[in-house]
């Protein structure tokens, strides 16, 4: 029974980690209808920038100069500024030129963006594995392990708390601020929002900036588990079934979807995996999402798409 509880908790916490990535997708899709294929690479790029600043890495040369190393608080602020600058550049160089284009064109543009960002990250910061030293707790929670023989990783507990804070801040931002209301207006109807004087370009910069900051959080949490390296960009693959299940437009959907996928795949791997060769959790997550799609094509919390014929 204790092992079942342990597997369930591990699934829930892994689900939170998936949700952190999925949130970035949801924000952009909600505001602009663009499926941002580059979200995983944005998490990588943000994490690479942060660790580069922390270690004093000389850009393009890839050697570390201890004199250039920044304290964590300053490195985080500069990384956030870099992600905002990136959002401005994306709007100026890509989105602005693709207004009123089909969604598939915008999707393809983000596909290109993913490759450009990955290459830029490699060029600026190098490809080797970088250790992220932000003082985040590592290893098992000793108290739970010693007193209850329950294995829960500290970094995943931190990720869960961070996710709760992040969702709370996003909820306040969307519902209680003027910009947030403007974002929701754009998400509901671009044309109507434009007609009342909301600047689509500003909204896009804001939403891509927020998404960049969410990507930084996801990159830090995942990077703390494995070191910062290029496989971080593949965490986007873990977010896709979460989005399919939770819906592409719902922040609570991203959280609930993540939890269901996380627990589902852990149960499947542990209890069914040994009978069918193992390593099933990746495809099981997609299968679970597809089963949900059969009954709710818009996902659990997604908006129902109704089109007049």
């Amino acid at each position: 029974m204790m092992f079942f509880l342990e597997a369930t908790i591990a699934g829930l916490l892994a689900g939170v980690m998936y949700s952190l990535v999925a949130l970035g997708f949801v924000l952009i899709f909600k505001a602009s209808g663009v499926f941002n294929f580059a979200q995983g690479v944005m998490a990588l790029f943000a994490a690479l920038t942060l660790v580069g600043l922390l270690q004093g890495t000389v850009p393009f040369v890839h050697t570390n100069n201890p004199d250039w190393a920044l304290p964590a608080w300053l490195a985080i602020i500069i990384t956030i500024l870099v992600m905002i600058l990136l959002a401005v550049l994306i709007e100026r160089l890509i989105l602005r030129h693709l207004v009123n284009q089909e969604h598939i064109i915008l999707f393809m543009a983000t596909l290109g963006l993913a490759y450009v960002l990955e290459g830029a990250g490699d060029l600026i910061w190098g490809s080797d594995v970088k250790v992220l030293d932000l003082g985040l707790p590592q290893g098992a929670n000793d108290w739970l392990l010693d007193n209850y023989d329950l294995y829960v990783e500290k970094i995943e507990m931190v990720a869960a708390v961070t996710a709760v804070l992040l969702v709370t801040v996003l909820a306040i931002f969307f519902h209680k601020t003027r910009i947030g209301r403007a974002l929701r207006a754009v998400a509901d109807d671009h044309q109507a929002a434009l007609s009342v004087g909301i600047s689509l370009r500003t909204i896009w910069v804001i939403v891509w900036s927020v998404s960049g900051i969410v990507a930084l959080v996801a990159g830090v949490m995942w990077g703390a588990k494995s070191g910062i390296q290029f496989s971080l960009s593949l965490i986007a693959l873990k977010a896709l079934p979460v989005l399919m299940l939770g819906g592409f437009t719902s922040i609570p959907g991203a959280i609930i979807g993540g939890l269901i996928i996380g627990v589902g795949e852990k149960w499947a791997e542990i209890y069914a995996g040994p009978y069918i060769g193992g390593a099933i959790e990746n495809w099981f997550a997609y299968m679970l999402a597809l089963i949900f799609l059969l009954f709710r094509p818009q996902g659990l919390f997604g908006e129902k798409i109704i089109e007049r014929v």
Partner: protein, 438 residues
């Protein structure tokens, strides 16, 4: 009019002649470099590619090439992707005077290139990876996997475990688990471990981890529940770093956790910090930059500005760098051997194969190469493309890797039978008549 045309033709003829002379004067050996400097496996691909390339550059810069023939290294990015790897092979095989050897650094790519090698007559050296049964030279004429294979390594690591337990008979009733990359590479040791489990009476269980291995919680929860006595790992890339961290988190004793030699580099342990101290892995060569060859590389390659990746200077001597360097050393010795056998300096793929098949790198030769004690002597024959198959265990002490054991002989009884069975099956399926090596 005719005179005018002739005058116009003269410069062209001179140009053509000059280029022919130039071509003849600049004969170079074409060595493709199947790199992966991008993508999720780049952290492992880069040190190997640098070691491989730097050694060839060293030969060019210090010795003027091999017996006066310069080497042209042709890089091609595979991103550790089998399809891209095959494309690289097709793209580079005809470059210059034609590729004379491939080192694919991927079991998946090697499997795809095995049938192509005999058609194109270019040998493949899958050094310590790839298809293990290619050790049978009677059937796999064009494939070499010395100095040891995965199956030899699995059996040698089990011998190490047996020794730690107080004898091979003490393995009875023990639990040995394999955590493996869910790919052709990761699955290689499974049959050997199953056979060894039958022979020694230990319980074997395999736990697959899907690419890339960023999330492994289910695997490590099962390990926590089932409490294996020893864990072997056949991992690559981020899978290694996450596994070592997870093992530390569940308080699994690091001195009972042994990675294959592709799971034992600095990249694999550093992200786990102090928790990785005591972790073990297989090895067939020494780590570190304390050999004469490293000093030469620094002097002739890095300090003279000839390095492909100049920022790597401080990392020369890392485990995977040394492995790439070892691969280039074996290949360059095979080139020398091919030149000696055939009495020609223009080496073709076929000549290179002959050079590999009669290669002998003695302890004395290693000393001459500035690599005294770097690895063990190797002798390749027509039947045996694996060579000695010796494997040692190295330990991470929190700062550096050090070899802590003797070199173990593989279990020839088990491994030999499996190689024979698998290679003969391959020969039957592909209608290959085994060569007579007598």
């Amino acid at each position: 009019m005719h005179i005018g045309r002739s005058i116009r033709t003269v410069p062209l003829a001179v140009l053509a002649l000059a280029s022919m002379v130039g071509m003849a004067a600049a004969y170079e050996l074409t060595i493709p470099s199947m790199d992966y400097r991008t993508g999720p496996y780049a952290p492992n691909g880069i040190p190997f590619a640098n070691g491989w390339t730097d050694y060839w550059t060293l030969l060019n810069e210090r010795d003027g090439g091999i017996n006066g023939v310069k080497i042209k290294v042709v890089p091609c990015e595979t991103a550790y992707n089998t399809k891209q790897g095959v494309e690289c092979y097709e793209k580079t095989k005809g470059v210059g005077n034609g590729a004379i050897i491939y080192q694919p650094l991927s079991t998946g790519i090697t499997y795809q290139l095995i049938p192509k090698a005999s058609v194109d007559k270019i040998p493949i050296h899958s050094m310590g990876y790839g298809r293990t049964s290619a050790a049978n030279g009677k059937i796999f004429k064009w494939i070499f996997n010395f100095p040891a294979t995965y199956w030899s390594q699995a059996s040698a690591l089990v011998k190490y475990i047996g020794e730690q337990e107080g004898g091979m008979d003490k393995l009875k009733g023990k639990k040995i688990f394999l955590v493996y990359h869910n790919s052709a590479y990761g699955k290689e040791p499974i049959r050997t471990l199953e056979k060894l489990a039958e022979k020694h009476g230990f319980t074997y269980r395999g736990l697959a981890v899907d690419h890339p291995g960023q999330e492994q919680k289910s695997t490590w929860l099962q390990i926590r529940r089932d409490k294996p006595d020893w864990i072997l790992m056949w991992g690559w890339g981020v899978m290694n770093q996450v596994a070592i961290k997870e093992a530390a988190s569940i308080r699994y004793p690091m001195d009972h956790f042994i990675g294959v030699w592709w799971s034992g580099s600095e990249n694999d342990v550093k992200p786990a910090g102090a928790a990785a101290t005591g972790y073990l892995s297989g090895a067939f060569h020494q780590p570190g930059a304390g050999f004469q060859v490293h000093k030469d590389i620094i002097k002739y390659v890095y300090d003279s500005g000839k390095a492909t990746d100049s920022a790597f200077k401080a990392r020369v001597g890392e485990v995977l760098y040394n492995r790439g360097m070892a691969a280039a050393m074996y290949a360059s010795e095979a080139v020398r051997n091919a030149m000696k056998i055939h009495g020609k300096k223009e080496v073709t793929g076929e000549m290179m194969r002959d050079g590999l098949e009669t290669l002998e790198v003695t302890a004395e030769r290693l000393k001459e190469l500035g690599m005294e004690g770097f690895t063990y002597p190797v002798k390749i024959t027509c039947e045996n493309h694996e060579g000695p198959g010796l494997v040692a265990v190295q330990r991470w002490d929190g700062k550096k890797w050090s070899i802590i054991s003797k070199f173990y002989e593989p279990d020839r009884e088990v491994v030999g039978a499996l190689i024979k069975e698998d290679s003969e099956k391959y020969a039957k399926e592909n209608n290959i008549k085994p060569r007579d090596c007598s």
